[in-house]
Subunit: 262 residues, 2 copies
Amino acid sequence: MTRDQLTTPEQVRRACRSGEWTGQTSGLAPKFAQANLVVLPQEDAFDFLLFCQRNPKPCPLLEVTEPGSPIPLRLAPDADLRTDLPRYRVWRNGEMTDEPTSITTCWRDDLVSFLIGCSFTFEAALLDAGLPIRHIELQRNVPMFRTNIPCVRAGRFHGPLVVSMRPLRAADAIRAVEVTSQFPEVHGAPIHIGLPHQIGISDLQSPDFGDPVPVADDELPVFWACGVTPQAAVIAAQPEYVITHSPGCMFVTDMPDSGLRG
Amino acid sequence: MTRDQLTTPEQVRRACRSGEWTGQTSGLAPKFAQANLVVLPQEDAFDFLLFCQRNPKPCPLLEVTEPGSPIPLRLAPDADLRTDLPRYRVWRNGEMTDEPTSITTCWRDDLVSFLIGCSFTFEAALLDAGLPIRHIELQRNVPMFRTNIPCVRAGRFHGPLVVSMRPLRAADAIRAVEVTSQFPEVHGAPIHIGLPHQIGISDLQSPDFGDPVPVADDELPVFWACGVTPQAAVIAAQPEYVITHSPGCMFVTDMPDSGLRG
């Protein structure tokens, strides 16, 4: 199975379901939104839902399933979240215990699935607007940093805001604010521009996650809230049981990127 | 105590707390956002939070408190939700059992408070834009209607979308869409314009809540999602215990209306 055969959301999900595709989803089914996945027992679901409500920029909720149901009725009513992602991570008491390609055997009737917006959508809009995205040009993962900005706590869930960084020239940075402002469901406008030390970032070449990218003298680093924030907060809270997507192995939805325009 | 003495949020809340003000809050503390209140036991709070997440236009959540805490840290950290509204309604198993001016004696450690955006904020913006608001001109309550549009269910909470209606001439209706689009946290853009029967409204002169207002031949009825929607869904679900604000007796926040601009 090659990437060229995975141009619709249904093709991607079917290939994941059959085990034919177990890799990253970036670039698959272009023009359709992809989502981060966090699955928690109902006992922890209220606090996590509250964490997302209180921290909407890093945690833009696209959908929350009914307890026990793996069907995302809004984003892809024909999908099954237990099988339709390429790869998952299973965590018990804060330790990753498995990285399976299906979670059918570890599903429980009390599990609630949270689907959270992903920056792939606004990156497509930035590219459409003619703006350069350094890490895509260099075929790297986007650099991500823990900031000194705390998220608003909800019950056991707390932690720092994690941001992604894209270097842009000033006029492009302004245009990028305009473009991403239109996508509040996928992190929206940047949270900072230009002065990384003000948000607790001392070295742009040492990201906490992802790969470093060069920042030219005539460029500003532009920082967006990142979906790693809720994942990190969940894992740090060490709940009894959590399932997440494996990094880069997102859920591909039936929602066109344009459907997430605010 | 007269309305002229209640020009800041703190003055309003202090007068409510002391029992000196027990009336409606419309027009008090101008330029500050007011909020609908729903208080539920934690046992029902997850489903209601999910109901709001799934129905953001009628249920724009401004804040959800920690279980047991009556302090709205985001909207007014010095306030106490048990005393700082003019009047409350206490419901047990779907029946209103009391309409007190304080809920201190009926507070419980498992109660979660939901503060939901209110159309007063966007009405102020419409007036600032020079648009006429019929029910304000006539000193009536806004007319509200149950529609045939179902909300997305969450657990025990479900029911029809309730809308408020304001008649406007076509050019003003267009401008009203532009203005209210900027306020997603207080219901945002209208949900319908012009053809009430398409959303299940047969007679504009017979609102389900509030007062009728005349609609001229050269005007279109413009419909916005309304905060009565979540109140009606909660009461219809007949949970064991619910507290709401009394109609028109909202919580006055420290958040300027302009702070809710998207």
